[in-house]
Amino acid sequence: MLESHIRAERGKKEILLMTHIVLGYPSFEEGFQIIEAMVEAGVDLMELQIPFSEPIADGPVILRANQAALANGATVEKCVDFAQRVARTFDIPFLFMSYYNILFQYGLDRFAAFMARAGLKGAIVPDLPPEEGEDYLRIMADHRLAPVFIFSPSTPDTRLRSIAACSKGFVYCVARKGVTGSDTRFTGELESYIERCRRATHLPLALGFGVKDKRDVDFLRSKVDIAVIGTQTIRLVDKEGVGGRRMRRWRLGLI
């Protein structure tokens, strides 16, 4: 299962890296090469975002990647076919990230059945709080998939515990207020929030929103289990293009 896999990997490394790409951006083929380069470079997990026209939790970089993917003709059908190909080719855990309407229109049961068949491990749905996720939770459990829920700095302790009780695999801790891609201050305040998250759950913790370089990852080392490089991954692709050597250097630079 996802949780035991993460624990086993954490036994070997001080911190794991999870990166994020938007499916169909810049194109499916280039996306495949990016994933290949990242897996080679030692990325431990990857989020595959199915683009949505109204991504309210995402900042400008990921928002524009969503729009570009849709404008290039990325359909949900193409995204799931691509995800299946990826999950069967590479030996790291892949998760879907998307907004609830995408799952809802595809059919929750059909979506989960597909993920299980294709070998994806779980999903992150940022606009689905556990209270709205009764059907989703049941169906994900039926297919032995991990619904990954989200902690935020404004979440009170009692609620952290009830969210953790619904989450499987790990919990995604949003580092701060705001949307993806803005700067985060890696300070004592963040540290005490992480401690609060730790006390609320035994599940592994991933931390994302604003993690962008080696200093940030160093700060998180031994504090959380997974550092999530979301927007920065897409910025790298935008800036450097698709090239295996650069990806490798980048990974080495982070660890």
């Binding site: 109204e54 309210i56 524009r64 729009q67 907004y99 709080p129 009170p156 705001g178």
Partner: protein, 408 residues
């Protein structure tokens, strides 16, 4: 989450975790205000001194005579300060913001009416104010941008997505998740996550409360039908709420654009193009493709040009309590002309949708009946759009000369 606000499966609160605490605070503040008998009093007294309430009901004598059918009455929301029913909602939310002790408000705007109304509220209460507006709308509605900025608001153009109302809503949410400690998001219609549909309808119910009493005084009985245009649905819910438990037919009129068959419209409840989905924090009928991506919409009236619709109206449609019809752009211009020429009233393009359907049905009703139309806003603020729609040659000449004046 305290309460998620469902209307028979429509509504809910599909919000990012970072906003859950903010919504809990808002739900709590709204419930307390609602349960405080002084609050509604404070609200109505503010509206009577700041915004011309109660707005009158006008008997449309000439139209009545022309259609030889029911007596036609018009509820005059156009006489609100800033020219539309939007003032009701923003002043109510403004009072809540004061109660919550927040210092900054943000809002989305399409046509600019809600933005201008919010900017007046912010000026009056001393709040900092930022308005998000799609770039396309910004270009269509320059006069409203001018007023918002003069009133002290910052107007931020939204350059992403389709660059209209729904994109402005997304951008306002992005601001809110960053600044929720100091900031309240004044959502402009009865859509979005709970408690917005309930809260906006609550403030707009002032229209229906007044209208029911006024028409009973004027006509001695209930109208047989009540007509309102439907964008997000707040003016419709406002006037309908006064007649919900009465034997009165309620008719919502959506933007038919270039015709329901053309695909270029914004009819969620009376076309076959919408499906139930979840976006912008709530579940309702959305104009979307089979993947769940939102479609482009079209209406001559920027205020009706929206992909979703109030979850309360989706419920009332399924329950059979409200009937929905569509009015095309062309029908809207004809109804607007007729109303101006016969009654000297200038409904907004949005409101003129309700007039279209009332005029279609009036000849089929008897002189024993009366009907009530909600004139949700005034049209003179739309002078650029309406002049273009009528391709008025003298206006065009005037604008050309005006432009030359600026070059001189």
């Amino acid at each position: 989450m305290i309460n998620r606000g469902y209307y028979e499966g429509f509504g809910g609160a599909y919000i990012p975790e970072i906003l859950v605490a903010t919504f809990d605070e808002l739900v709590d503040a709204f419930q307390k205000a609602k349960n405080d008998p002084h609050f509604w009093q404070e609200y109505t007294s503010l509206m009577s001194s700041f915004s011309c309430r109660p707005t009158p009901v006008t008997f449309a004598e000439n139209l009545t005579r022309m259609f030889k059918g029911p007596r036609i009455y018009i509820k005059r929301e156009d006489l609100n300060h800033t020219g539309a029913h939007k003032a009701n909602n923003v002043m109510g939310q403004g009072l809540l913001v004061k109660r919550m002790g927040k210092k900054r408000v943000i809002a989305e705007t399409g046509a600019g009416q809600h933005g201008v109304a919010t900017a007046t509220m912010a000026a009056r209460f001393g709040f900092e104010c930022t308005i998000y507006m799609g770039e396309v709308d910004l270009e269509r509605q320059r006069p409203n941008v001018f007023w918002m900025e003069r009133l002290g608001a910052r107007v931020v153009p939204v350059l992403d997505g389709t660059r209209i109302l729904k994109d402005a809503i997304n951008e306002a949410f992005r601001d809110w998740v960053t600044h929720m400690d100091t900031t309240h998001y004044v959502l402009g219609t009865a859509c979005g996550p709970h408690p917005f549909p309930e809260m906006v309808s609550y403030f707009q119910s002032i229209i229906g409360k007044e209208a029911r009493k006024q028409i009973m005084d004027l006509d001695g009985r209930l109208p047989s039908r009540v007509y309102a245009c439907v964008g997000g649905g707040s003016n419709a819910l406002g006037i309908f709420s006064g007649f919900m438990d009465d034997p009165v037919a309620l008719v919502g009129v959506e933007a038919g654009g270039k015709g329901l068959d053309s695909g270029e419209h914004a009819s969620r409840l009376c076309s076959n193009d919408a499906r139930i989905g979840v976006a912008q924090g709530y579940k309702t009928y959305f104009l979307q493709n089979s993947d769940g991506q939102m479609k482009k919409t079209h209406s001559i009236a920027a205020g009706l040009d929206y992909v979703g619709v109030s979850p309360i109206l989706s419920h009332l449609k399924e329950a059979g309590r409200v009937r929905f019809e569509a009015a095309s752009d062309e029908e809207v211009l004809n109804a607007l002309s007729l109303t101006m020429q016969k009654e000297g009233l200038i409904p907004a393009l949005e409101s003129a949708h309700a007039f279209v359907q009332a005029f279609k049905e009036a000849p089929t009703l008897s002189s024993e009946d009366s009907i009530l139309i909600n004139q949700s806003g005034r049209g003179d603020k739309d002078i650029f759009t309406i002049a273009d729609a009528f391709t008025d040659p003298k206006w065009r000449e005037f604008i050309k000369k005006k432009a030359e004046g600026y070059h001189a």
